[in-house]
Each structure stands twice: as C-alpha cells, then as structure tokens.
C-alpha cells in the first residue's frame, strides 16, 4: 500500500519537474516541427550544426528541435535502432555513419527524389556510390574522413630523410632508425609508429588500408565476390604483424584513435596513422608537437601497390517515418549546401564532400594542408558495408577479431584470411 504521502510527494515532484525549462533548443516559428538527431551540441561540431539548423528554421518559418546523439557511434546506432524498430516519427533527420547505409536503408527516404543528377555530381563519386543501395540514395554525404599518415618533420630532418615514406617498407626502415636513435638519447617511451589495433571498427579501417595498399582488395568487392584470401592480403597482414613489438608498442592492440593520438601528441611517436581530427589538436598552442609535423597519404604496399585511405565520415538521411519528409529534405539540403560546406571546412577543419571546395582560396588560407586531401580521397577505399548491408557488423567483427588476434601473436596471417573468408562467404550466400 503506497501511502497518500508518497503519492503527493511524487505528484509535487512531477510538477516541479515539468516546470523545468523546456527545450533550450527550440526556435519557435509556425510551419512544421522538424527534429534532427545530430552531433552532440556540447562539442564544437554539434554547436555549429545546431546553430545552422536553427538558422534554417528561422529562415523557413519552421520549428526545429535538436536532439544530441551520444558521442560513441555504437551507442548512437543502438539508440537510432530503437526508433527505427518502432517506426517512430519522432525524428525526421538522422546523421548516420558511412557504414550504416545497409542498416539504415529500409528506414530512409530515397534522396534521389530531392536531388537532381547535376547536384549529385557535385559530390565525391566514391561516397555517393557507397551511399547508394540497390539504386536508392540512402543518405547524402555531409562531411568526410579518411585515414592519413602523420609524420614528425623535425625528426625526419634530424635523421636525414628528405621526404615522408612512399612505401610501407620505407616507413618501417625510417621508423626503426628514428626509434632507436631517440631511445638511445634517453626517450625510453619513444615509438616508431602508432596506429589503431584495438579489436573494434578502428582496426578494421587500419587493416583494410594495409590490405588495399598491397593490392589485396577490400575483403568483399562491390560485385559481391569474396576476395580476402589472396597472397597480397597475406603479405599486407604479415607486414603489419612484424611491426608489433618492433616499431609499434605491444599495447597497440588495445589502441583506438585516442590512445594512439595520446602517444603521438605527447611527442612519443615518429609516425601515426589516424583520422584528420588529430591535426588541429596537434597544432593547438599548448601542444608539444605544434609546428613539428605534417600529413600525407598513407604509404603503398611495395612499388606495385596503391595509396589507400579508409573512407569515413557522416551522412544525412531523412527518416522514412517522418511526417514531413519534404521539409526535412529541405533542412538536409540547407545543412549540406556548398556555402555551408565551405564554412565547416574553415571553422571546424572538417573535410567537405564536394571536390570543388578544396581549391577555394579561403579554405586553403585557413587549412593549407587541405591541398593534399583530394589526392587522399581519390584513393579512398570504402569498407564493404553497402554490399553486406545489415550484415556488415558481423563481417567487421569477424575481421577485426581475427586481425587483432593475429597482431597479438595468436594466429598466422594465412589463418586470419581463411577465417574471415569463411564468415564472408557465409554472409554472401
């Protein structure tokens, strides 16, 4: 029996609760209410997006509600899945990861309805191809990401190297020499090369880059053929395995992006593979390595290899359960227009998805290193998420668990590709 006292207390608390400030995020207007689930507005990126979205609302006379997503991508996917499973009209616009196209497909509106052929041509073709599932444009690219090589210009100079390495062999040699030299001088914690080896999507990206750069394909090709079990892929993995304990710390198998950056930014690494976000952080005023590094495209696997960069980035999609898809699409087009892309490039140093913007003088004035990026993006390799659809996570899990096991010394590269091939073939049946 719950006493009346308790009921009263609960009621009072409920009243107090509802007296709370309502949305700090609504801008009132007439028209339609659109809700978008985008980057958390606690961070700079989210703040920028939110301001932009509110601007749109004012301009078009609609009401906007901004929903912040959690920082972690898996938590975000989990949250979105609840909405999608319930076919909820509660959110109109979602920002989705580049690898969720297959998963999000059934819940998205075909954006070809709102973009003309010419408009679509303005975007990077590789990304548009990634976002198209069975002819349907699931989402439009918003900002993109690709894996790049960071290198210490001061150390390269010190040890007599004029240019960053072009092949993985060169990198291994340079990293070893620099590491030995620095350690002899007393920097016991210095590492040659740090990357992401953690058993998560992080190592999937890294390993895909190694394999693709040796000409080993991308696990499953867009035409559904499973190609992982080939000598080039095995060579790539063998090379990576040889780094652990030699030029990379044994703990690299637990490193995701931040752990690698932490070692690098404290000045304890000669080379790092990471996403572009680390550039601005490295150049921050209080950073130990500010002004002492630069970036370039990742090395090739031997003279016959190719430069590879794993494609990342986020896209915008309109919910199939939205009550006002046309208005939602209008918001998407606004957030994504060429002008906004340019602003985003200048203010947040995020990669625009339209090649034209990289030659814009204002953008280059703020971020001169963007000049190298179109080359990087030309070499972008997309993870086989579109071809595997809703099964992508299963493939990625099999891949990253086996690669991680190999890096820790638990199995050979041959066994690794065989295990992955088994799972891939099962999924493609």
């Amino acid at each position: 029996m719950i006493s009346p006292k308790k009921i009263l207390k609960r009621y009072l608390l409920r009243c107090v609760g509802s007296l709370f400030l309502i949305s700090l995020a609504t801008s009132t207007g007439f028209g339609v209410t659109i809700r978008c689930a985008l980057d958390s507005d606690v961070g700079e990126g989210g703040r920028f997006s939110k301001a932009l979205a509110l601007e749109w609302a004012k301009k078009t006379g609609n009401t906007l509600e901004y929903i912040s997503r959690p920082n972690d991508a898996t938590a975000t996917l989990q949250q979105f899945q609840q909405y999608w499973a319930a076919k909820s009209p509660d959110v109109d616009v979602y920002m989705i990861d580049v690898i969720w196209q297959g998963i999000a497909n059934p819940h998205a509106v075909d954006l070809k309805k709102f973009y003309t052929e010419d408009e679509i041509k303005q975007f990077f073709p590789a990304i548009i191809q990634n976002n198209t599932v069975n002819g349907k444009l699931v989402s439009i690219p918003w900002f993109t990401d690709a894996g790049i090589l960071y290198y210490r210009t001061d150390l390269l100079e010190k040890y007599g190297y004029k240019e960053p390495p072009k092949t993985w062999e060169e990198l291994t040699e340079m990293a070893k020499k620099i590491q030995d030299g620095e350690r002899k001088e007393g920097k016991k914690d210095f590492q040659g090369f740090v990357f992401q080896g953690k058993a998560s999507e992080s190592v999937t990206c890294n390993a895909l880059e190694w394999i693709y750069s040796f000409g080993g394909g991308s696990i499953i090709e867009p035409d559904k053929k499973v190609t992982i079990n080939n000598p080039n892929a095995i060579k790539a993995l063998q090379t990576a395995k040889s780094w652990v304990g030699a030029i990379s710390p044994p703990g690299v198998v637990t490193y995701s992006e931040e752990e690698a950056r932490n070692v690098w930014q404290a000045g304890n690494a000669a080379f790092m593979r990471n996403w572009p976000y680390a550039y601005a952080l490295g150049q921050a005023p209080k950073s130990v390595i500010a002004g002492k590094f630069d970036v370039t495209v990742l090395p090739m696997g031997g003279a016959n290899g190719k430069h590879a960069a794993c494609l990342g980035g986020w896209q915008l999609m309109v919910s199939a359960y939205s009550k006002a898809p046309d208005v939602a699409a209008d918001l998407v087009k606004f957030l994504n227009s060429a002008d906004e892309q340019k602003r985003r490039a200048i203010e947040l140093s995020q990669f625009p998805v339209m090649p034209a913007i990289y030659s814009d003088p204002d953008v280059l004035a703020k971020n001169p290193w963007f000049a190298k990026i179109p080359d990087v993006l030309k070499n972008a390799v997309a993870r086989p998420s579109t071809v595997t659809g809703a099964d992508y996570n299963q493939l990625s899990t099999a891949f990253f668990q086996n690669v991680n096991k190999m890096l820790s010394g638990g199995q050979s590269p041959q066994d690794t590709v065989q295990q992955v091939e088994k799972v891939a073939k099962r999924l493609m049946r």
Partner: protein, 295 residues
Amino acid sequence: MAREIDLMERQRRLAWFLIVPAVIVVLLVIGYPLIQVLVYSVLKYKLDGVTPPSFVGLGNYLFILTDSDFWRAVAVTLIFTFFSVTLEAVLGLSVAMVANSKFKGRSILRVAILIPWAIPTVVSSKIWAWMFNDIYGVVNVLLTNLHLIPQKIAFLATPITAIPVIIAVDVWKTTPFMALLLLAGLGLIPSDLYEAAAIDGATAVKAFFSVTLPLVMPTLLVALIFRTLDALRVFDIFYVMVGGQGNMATMAIYNQQWLVSFLDAGIGSAASVIILIFIMIFVILYTRFSKTSFQ
C-alpha cells in the same frame, strides 16, 4: 484464543495488502519484456526492416549452444564471477568489520570505502584502463621506476594479464557494495553477545567464528546472491577495458553483439533466455546451499 485467531487473520490480510503492490510492479515491469524475449527467441528475426520473421523452433538455441564463441564467453564469465565474488565477500567482510569498530576517524573510512562504488562505472573503468596503459599508464610507470619489472607491460592486450586486472578493478569497485550490506548486517548483532564471549574467555578469532560469522551469515548470503547475479551479467567493465577482443567477451557482451551489432533479434533473444537459465541454475544451487528457509 479467539483474539489470537483474529490477530492471525488481520495479519494475513495485511500481508496480502502489502505484498500484492510489489508483485504487481514486478509483473508490470518485467512481464512484457520477458514475453517478448521468449517469443523472439523461437523466430528467425533479422532487424533489417525487410525480412519478415519466421518460426524456427529451437534453431537459434542450437546455433548458440554449438557456437564456440558462446562457450568461451561462458568460461570467461564463470572465471570472473568465481574470483571476484569470493574476493569481494572476504574483503567486504574485513572492511565491514574494520568500519564497525570504534576508532578515531571511522567516519572518514566509512565515506572512503563507498567512493569506488559511487564513481560511474564507465568513468572508473576508463581511469583504470588509463592507469594500466602500456606507455603512459601510472601502474607501468611506477613499476618500472621501482625496477619491479624490466619493461612496460601491455596489461590489457592478452587474457592472461587482462582478466586478473579486470577482476582486480571489479573488486576495487564492488567491495563497497558488499561492505555496506555487511556493515548493516553486523549492526544486527547485539554487543552483549560479544561481552558474553569475552567473559567466557574467547579470543578474537573464536569470537568471530562463534558469534560474528553465524549471525552475519543471513545477510552475507543475500549479498552473495545479488553479487553473483550481477557478476554473471557483467558487461560495462569488460566492454570499456577490453572492448571487442573475441577471447574476452562475457555472456552479456555476446548477447549484446548479436542483438545490437548483428541486428539479430532471434539469436539475441535466445541468448538472453540461455543466460537466464544459467542464472536460474545458480539461484537453485544457492537455495540448496543456503540454510535460511523462507517458509
């Protein structure tokens, strides 16, 4: 005589009044999710929004029970549960007894022992993962500076070192839970019993075994069953510290992987039911073992 029967009746009626609301809340909260899990577990149900669910009987169960990944997860979970619960019980009781004694500064101790439990798990796991990092981790820095190890160890890279570390962190975090419950349980022991024991010439050790342990046993058993159930469902600490490493998944991580990452509601739900059955087995064992009867 009549008054006694009357009293019994009033007590019986009151008992119903008091128990039924709690039972209703339980059924309300857990009823639908339980039914959903049971129903989905016999379906082939991919949450891709395209394939319609179909009936597969025990197919999902068979898949899981023949999956070596699942049994590995079971092994990891059981090892973790055994060591962490045992250590937490022993340490929890010791800490509770220290906090129960009268000495200067015991209030500070009582607050301090609760701090590990009070910090959010994801934060404290991350702090510990930091501290055990192979380059900048405090543990490695200290151990190498004190020349206790020749070079830094990547603790979280392999199961041999990672699982003891995770157990240690969990013991750090959860001993307060045990200690707090046991502290309350120790409070139930009348101090005159200790006085009587002292008069009879019993040593501190004897007093512990003949007075303390038997009287704190009921509370200890309750603390044990809850701690064991929690340990069998462990997720956060493994997820944060060793993430997706396949050889260190727990049953709950396995479950989440199928349900959320792989979008397979069928297998995910079947995994949930299997875990439930596992836990029920433990509960039954516990009932047999526990001397307390509830009838």
